[in-house]
Symmetry: none
Subunit: 84 residues, 2 copies
DNA sequence: ATGCATTTGTCCGTATGTATG
DNA sequence: TCATACATACGGACAAATGCA
């Protein structure tokens, strides 16, 4: 699975933030709908071409933003939108 | 292990803990009275929509807290309140 | 006593997240 | 990145304990 290279721009931004923002963008644009199950973190790391821990940091970032919900033993899912 | 325990990453909510806390709340609010027989673990699992082993983990948690008593072949019952 | 239904107990296999090296 | 170990989640299968007719 060759992912588009635009995931990582050449800026000084931390890699995990680039990954987080890439996924966040896909969620906010509606490409990933609420309830959608994301690939397993290990698979995501392989697919994107970054380290496992990098994906985990990105997931924690998205979790903190309330964009995803993680359930141990089940997976990671796009959260319901929260209006502000 | 060099870090103090106060540093807790906002981890995901474990399903069995959610189940345990939900039942614990019902007991502590008096919705479930001492001696009350809870549904069978497997029925509970079906009703709540989680796996059997997950309910069993939750039951073990409640048992450890002294909130319920389990008897093989009979069922699970709300324990008598223990003052501290 | 034997059988049946109900309920908890145990184990297995697979998938996933967590943590560390 | 890769490897290792462990906890959690789920479903299935079978065993053990209880109560009842």
């Amino acid at each position: 699975m060759t992912e588009p290279p635009e995931i990582r721009d050449s800026g000084p931004e931390l890699v995990y933030m680039q990954v987080a923002n890439w996924i966040a963008g896909r969620i906010e644009r509606g490409e990933l709908k609420p309830g959608h199950k994301l690939p397993a973190e290990r698979d995501l790391a392989t697919q994107i071409g970054v380290g496992y821990m990098t994906v985990r940091r990105a997931m924690r970032e998205l979790r903190d933003r309330g964009l995803i919900i993680t359930v141990v033993g089940r997976g990671t899912f796009v959260a319901e939108p929260r209006d502000t």
